[in-house]
Amino acid sequence: MVSLALGARALPLAQIWAWAFGAGAAGPADAIIVDMRLSRSLTGIVTGASLAAAGLVMQQITRNPLADPGILGVNAGAALAVVLAVWLLGWSHPFRLSATAVCGAGLAAIAVFVLGRCGSGGDGAADRAGILRLTLAGVAVSALCLAFVSAIVLLDQDTRNLYRFWTIGSLGGGEADRLGWLWPLVAAGLAIAVLLARQIDALALGADTARSFGVRSEMTAGLALVSVAFLAGGSVALAGPIGFVGLIVPHVTRMLVGPSILPGLAVACPLGGALLLICDSIGRVVARPAEIQTGIILALIGGPAFLALIGRVAR
């Protein structure tokens, strides 16, 4: 509600309330609410929720508390795909670029998974080594993608302008149609995570224990990564690579409801949506009539919050 009210042009809360429960306010206010703010708020909620869910699943299956969608190379892959499409093909249509971003995210996730494949099966130590390999592969793929991105962006002025949006992440413009066809992707990612909840919980005890429970650990890990690629890829296509949500929200969630995936998702999704919405609202207010991109606000708030979190855990 507040998110609907705030913006370059402030609307009184009462007016929003009247719109929500009445026939709709007349004139420009109505247009602002419906066309811009509502779709923006929805996009924020979906993006935040999917990032939080992706982070939660990542941290469970890699058993790495620092895992976040960015680590899978998803963000970098999406950015590279978008930059390539703009530079080589001259695309600018948001639908095409969104699709490109999802594909890039998916390809990067697959590359990371193949490179860091934990399929060697071995004992506990090999299991941990596999996780380490996966993490390193993610960092390597990210670095490679971002190197290409930098090179292209330095070469080409127009690409650079467009790229600025993708590097930082923003709920900026015209997402209504994008949300319309991206939500099934996000929903599918979430559905996979929910269906696999018990297997993912088993896998969090290590591949050996999961197998002793009769769970096929490689298949579970693979499907969980598909889920992460859908969720993170969808969010990147919606709002660009937004950091920190996927990292912090799962931590807070575990403090609240423990490490199981189902209650975790139930808490993490609303939490992620709310966090993103709040940050977006702040970003729209502090620099009125201009805006600060959501990603920057998140980093400004999230960075210190994360440090505080580490401090608490370390003690």
């Binding site: 469970q60 099966g121 269906l195 969090a204 050996d208 224990t209 002793s212 429970f213």
Partner: protein, 256 residues
């Protein structure tokens, strides 16, 4: 009722560690596998528990080839507790033990009364009932190992395979744990197979011993048959003297 390996070859990445091994483990018995480091005893255990796929040969569970059974069906009859299982950050004892019910749960249904009863029985048997609400990360090594045993017990399997369950425990906790395992065998009829390092403890607590060296079974049978200077010489390359433990009557190894 038995667990049997037939011409089993096991290895990692094409390199065979165990070649063409055949072995029959009696049920309702405490069996210990002993041998020097790297002799393949853990690999054999993991092969029997299907954590390492058979390259050739079969593992038979009560006469049925496990390759023909569904993962879930096996997990209801046999489980393996790895040497260093991983506890998720912040998990509580009750929740962790509850995860042992995984192979029994039906999709989309919450755990039922049977599951809660099994978890409670398992926690009582492993004497961790009073720790239900504690965080696993706050427990001592001995308590934590009992919690893992409780998780394996909650799985309600006839066969319980343990990979060096006494590592990282001091002598008192080693004894407590082995007594617990023997009680599970005597009172609940569970078949227990474990890899142990300490020969004298293995001789005292196991009914059946398997001595391995370089992927082969050198000797098997009752402790008194296996723990002899001749076998120990072949298995460990050690000159030893074996006497009867004055307290328990089991063979006691004195290295020279």
């Amino acid at each position: 009722m038995s667990l049997e390996a037939r011409n089993l070859t096991l290895g990692y990445g094409g390199q065979a560690i165990i070649r063409d091994l055949s072995l029959r483990l009696p049920s309702a018995t405490v069996t210990a596998i002993i041998g020097p480091n790297g002799c393949g005893k853990s690999t054999l255990l993991r092969g029997l528990g299907r954590l390492v796929p058979a390259e050739t040969g079969q593992v038979l569970l009560d006469g049925t080839d496990t390759a023909t059974l569904r993962n879930n069906a096996i997990a209801r009859r046999l489980t393996l507790l790895p040497q260093s299982p991983i506890a998720p950050e912040g998990i509580r004892v009750g929740e962790l033990v509850g995860r042992g019910r995984t192979p029994w749960l039906r999709p989309f249904r919450p755990p039922g009364q049977t599951d809660r009863d099994a978890v409670q029985r398992a926690m009582q048997a492993a004497t961790v009932s009073e720790l239900r609400e504690a965080r696993v990360s706050d427990l001592s090594g001995g308590q934590r190992q009992r919690v893992w045993i409780a998780m394996a017990l909650a799985q309600d399997t006839d066969w319980l395979l343990l990979d060096e369950p006494t590592t990282f425990l001091d002598l008192r906790h080693q004894l407590d744990l082995l007594k617990l395992l023997r009680r599970l065998n005597r009172d609940h009829g569970r078949s227990i197979v474990m890899v142990l390092h300490d020969i004298s403890l293995a001789a005292r607590f196991a009914d059946h011993l398997i001595a391995m060296r370089q992927g082969e079974v050198i000797a098997q049978g009752r402790p008194a048959q296996v723990i002899t200077p001749a076998v120990l010489e072949r298995v460990f390359g050690l000159h030893t003297s074996v006497i009867a433990d004055p307290l328990h009557g089991s063979p006691l190894v004195l290295p020279m």
